[in-house]
Symmetry: D2
Subunit: 393 residues, 4 copies
Amino acid sequence: MPGRHHLYIPGPTNVPDRLLRAMHRAQEDHRSAAFPALTRSILDRLPAVVGSTTATPFVFPASGSAMWEAALVNSVHPGSRLLAVRFGQFSHLFIQTARQLGYVVDVIEVPWGEGAHPGLIEAALRADPAHDIKGVLLVHNETATGVTSDVGAVRTAMDRAGHPALLYVDGVSSIASLAFEMDAWRVDCAITGSQKGFMLPAGLGILYCSPRVVRALDTVTTPRAYFDLRPMLANNAQGYFPSTPALTLLWGLDEALTMLLDEGMANVVARHRRLAEGVRRAVHAWGLSLCASNAAWYSDTVTAVVVPDGADARVVIAHAASRWNLSLGSGLTQLAGKVFRIGHMGDVNELMLAGALAGTEMALLDAGIALTPGSGVAAAASWWRESAPLSVH
Amino acid sequence: MPGRHHLYIPGPTNVPDRLLRAMHRAQEDHRSAAFPALTRSILDRLPAVVGSTTATPFVFPASGSAMWEAALVNSVHPGSRLLAVRFGQFSHLFIQTARQLGYVVDVIEVPWGEGAHPGLIEAALRADPAHDIKGVLLVHNETATGVTSDVGAVRTAMDRAGHPALLYVDGVSSIASLAFEMDAWRVDCAITGSQKGFMLPAGLGILYCSPRVVRALDTVTTPRAYFDLRPMLANNAQGYFPSTPALTLLWGLDEALTMLLDEGMANVVARHRRLAEGVRRAVHAWGLSLCASNAAWYSDTVTAVVVPDGADARVVIAHAASRWNLSLGSGLTQLAGKVFRIGHMGDVNELMLAGALAGTEMALLDAGIALTPGSGVAAAASWWRESAPLSVH
Amino acid sequence: MPGRHHLYIPGPTNVPDRLLRAMHRAQEDHRSAAFPALTRSILDRLPAVVGSTTATPFVFPASGSAMWEAALVNSVHPGSRLLAVRFGQFSHLFIQTARQLGYVVDVIEVPWGEGAHPGLIEAALRADPAHDIKGVLLVHNETATGVTSDVGAVRTAMDRAGHPALLYVDGVSSIASLAFEMDAWRVDCAITGSQKGFMLPAGLGILYCSPRVVRALDTVTTPRAYFDLRPMLANNAQGYFPSTPALTLLWGLDEALTMLLDEGMANVVARHRRLAEGVRRAVHAWGLSLCASNAAWYSDTVTAVVVPDGADARVVIAHAASRWNLSLGSGLTQLAGKVFRIGHMGDVNELMLAGALAGTEMALLDAGIALTPGSGVAAAASWWRESAPLSVH
Amino acid sequence: MPGRHHLYIPGPTNVPDRLLRAMHRAQEDHRSAAFPALTRSILDRLPAVVGSTTATPFVFPASGSAMWEAALVNSVHPGSRLLAVRFGQFSHLFIQTARQLGYVVDVIEVPWGEGAHPGLIEAALRADPAHDIKGVLLVHNETATGVTSDVGAVRTAMDRAGHPALLYVDGVSSIASLAFEMDAWRVDCAITGSQKGFMLPAGLGILYCSPRVVRALDTVTTPRAYFDLRPMLANNAQGYFPSTPALTLLWGLDEALTMLLDEGMANVVARHRRLAEGVRRAVHAWGLSLCASNAAWYSDTVTAVVVPDGADARVVIAHAASRWNLSLGSGLTQLAGKVFRIGHMGDVNELMLAGALAGTEMALLDAGIALTPGSGVAAAASWWRESAPLSVH
């Protein structure tokens, strides 16, 4: 199909040309005397992205979800008991991973479309006076439903319960896009990958550990090899990696950090919020609703849109792909056919999203869903004009 | 500014990533035994783009406008008399080039916004019974005004006048985008560059000559060196070039030919027509008019939009650039401030243009020009939906 | 430093520009209807590289060494007993990984510079009539010492012992460069990564499993999540991956397979042998010896060179890097300072290696090691001329 | 053929990956408010490359040889008389270009292998007391023979003759590689292209004009259009170009300037001299001689090697290409079969040339030319070691 493909799934996101260029390089010797400069440039700057000055970051050749495993096997003993909230496919998979690794997970079930109610977590922890629960698993931004939970409120709930469990936060679709305050929230393990807010292809798992976790690495008895953080920590301290690193992606990550920090994390967050609000106004102008059940849960990186009863979201997605060269995300498991998802994270701007909204609108009409043509783009554009920085002219 | 830049000037156009990749290569020996395969792949396939089986194509490291000079110095004697129609900045520059080279040019002045009236050309030629006029200079698609002339009708007018002048057609913003029938129209020199329909960066001038021009190369006495077609012809026949060719752009051109011919020239033309019609419907929905004075002149590669009295198109362009990361073309010389131009040629599709139209609409509003928000995208999208190939679903 | 860097470490290897181009692409939707074509193109062609028609290949975002873990946790129960031969750093790390995962490893210690003596393995297996040993761990090509073991002979020894243990072969620095006959040798798990014979950056772990291993996946009780082959198998069958794949590297792998299979695996193997023989002749012409203790162990992908007593290989490596822009591999652990290593695998040819040998020679002289200048290149070149295909002229 | 191609023709040269990356970019609007920053970065820095603070540089989409024409048509009247020295194919073509454009050229014939004898030029100018001769055409580095002339000595000769002719210097294969002192030598027009010392693909012609030439632009009556410097000068002053510039190559040129000026022109020159001396020592070690008839003429960018009587240099070149993936330059016209040429300019280093010399040696042997194997590389390497900067170790 002529012209650019329009990729608005919730990851992988659009990789800026600048990052593609940064990765188009001849390989180098990862054991050379010059190599540590790269390692340090990355590791020294990663914490700023999650609002931390104390976290230790780890970068693995792996997918983001591999960091669920890396976080757990390095921080709790075999068979430990964990507490998790399930409200979407990714919170489900986090739980499943923990169970496959032999951990026991207490699950608080929440309807998909809602997020982590701090009160429920507090109650569950209060019901564990023996502190048998060793960790709380939380998906910050549930990519399946477009729901963002309030990590700070969860931390407050944990404090209120006086419970010492570790706090594990999956930030795969939030970190580097949404406000993330690892230090303020006292997150113990923050988990992400390269292919969302970091604007890179998939292939790197990124894990941030609190000092509490790092201090306890040697005491944890869960068997582990590839994801063992100890050799990584020792090698990183010298500027190296224990096995051959995914150099190409490291060069990209280094450049992505420059882009993010040059823009400023507060600006990155504000941009995502402002762009996302345009998308939501478009959805409402079409007369459709979000999967997120109320505004408090709205995600600024992905919007899951519910199609009217009788319509099939898969038909919308299929028309978008075949007629308009537009990729939208599908509804997963219990949401299949009921929602489609628009990703709006990473290196995006107003006109990219205007094109995506125009295509979504056309695909909705193709699927027989009634709406006023142009209404979505008009609503988004009006918001973006209203909220845009003053022109320099 | 985050996200992709939106480039909708009438050239250079968006270079597809596939062509950027094709150009990202180590250099090779342009005198090697293997090299002629590339030369032949390009030269053998170029004529199909202009509907010719008889033309000889020439490719120079040069801008497209350099081919005005290359065409003239190789085909007419010093001081020859030529006939031209002027209705925009590029027809003006073609005339100016001819005069700088010492040719005498009779100019038919036509209001900007109209094109080449065949009747005026016929009359001018009939007024030259001695056949003193050696060539007719015609800009097929006037990029400054978004006006396409009917080359076939001009040829018919020349035939009716029984005049043997050569027909020079500037196809810089038409070739590889609009229908071009070099053989059927008996064009003698067709002129273009790499940065429009060929979807490449600027840097190659492309000239097609009819057999009549090629046969007469040795008889023409205009002094010429770099643009002398004779050494080019002799070297090309062996698969080589007389001086070091711009290899990078040649690799790009070879791949661009594959893209164009795989899509099929008729499909390329139909796509441009269909996309352009959407842009025009958007302009009309905004209540604005085109610089092209009537539908017969509408260009399918560039739309010049007239802003209302009292408004300044430069303000629209400035807002588009600074607020929306969108480049629009400006009005040139007598049209400065009165029009802005939207380029829609090359590797474009519906959603790219929807984004461009959304941005244009926002910039028009920023400039204080009243319109119904969303009306442009809605009108374009409705047309595109109506005219789209049936979905495979 | 001006000019190209000369990278002759034993991995990562030189990535051909063609593969860099293949990876320089905008991302796509890994859940689209079009995506399975890529998955199938890769998975269908991977077995041919290891001489197999029956193996099931798995591709992970991970380093090659991660596949040690992936192989073990999917094929043997927790605490199982394994047999391994240790004769270099990588055979050591394979053993260490197994132990970290809780397996019990019987180790046959062999001097570094030798390989896996089939007789020792046979004896060890005969000493286990109860078939308590569940697997034999073998590093095909020990990258630390430049030693290639005879996998076929090990298989024969296992057969002679009548022992049913699984055969795990680390082919990280052999697969796609040296002869590898997975079916003929009845290898159960073959392990490699993207950054050696596949000529790509690091970032993909590649694991081939025999039908015997695949059949038993559900019965193995070792806890596993990221490396669990079952969801990978299920998703792959549909053309997808369970988590977001490292798309960039997959595009590269697909193109690398085309390069390898177009050249033909037998030709790839012969090229490596012929090029490596030139390197060895250079080493001998310098009067130096190989770490590999006799010709039967010589590796065709990496040559570890022993420096004379009193010399320090690290000085050679340092001069190569700082004066000649040449990266050589260092001696690891017990070989530190005693050997340096020349990698000659992947996309290499005679003149690349001639440059590397010239630089090595210069660095040896810089380090005060006496040799006849030019002798190494002369010896290599003579062999390459002698063994070169006849010129077409 | 596997591995990198070895390109050692005297242009195009090896384009550093850094420059390929700089050119791999989406197009931008060459009429935008942001664009002049690029124009100025290039034009402001170009003079330093030729040792000038007073020259005005011009950059055209064109080949380097087009600048012969651009220089002449902008500086002398039609039919003017010029003086030139001919001692190779490129000095011949410069003369031919001038004649094709209608100028009258007095030619001093010199045997190929020698350069511009200042005494002959002085004599010719003294023989023109009426100052009828308007310009002296000089090829600084004759690429066909590997001969560098002494421009400063020619200027002194012109001064001694008290002759006001303009001095035109073709620096296509010298500028950005050899010492070039435009101001000190009072060169009026210095001519080059992008594909040699600037390390880029061909496609840009670069012309430097002295203030004397710039001042007289309006008085020169030679017809000209594309190469007319006046609109270029006027547009450049505003940061723009009169026609669409070859953006891709401009980005590359901007980055190439950064590379050159960061290294420092004196270091660039010294590097070329040192590397070239190694090549010459190799040639002498093989028992062969240079086309340049004595050391005073030796070029540091290209070495033309004379094969022994009875041998055919074309056979050497053919073996190099087909057996060793090495491109060498051929002998042109009267030197065909008698010499082959090794290019060693631009982004090269010792080991790249060591590979090229090894391949040349192998091809010489393939062609039946007797030499001591390894002797060339040994001689070059010994020189490079001897002359290398002290190692940091």
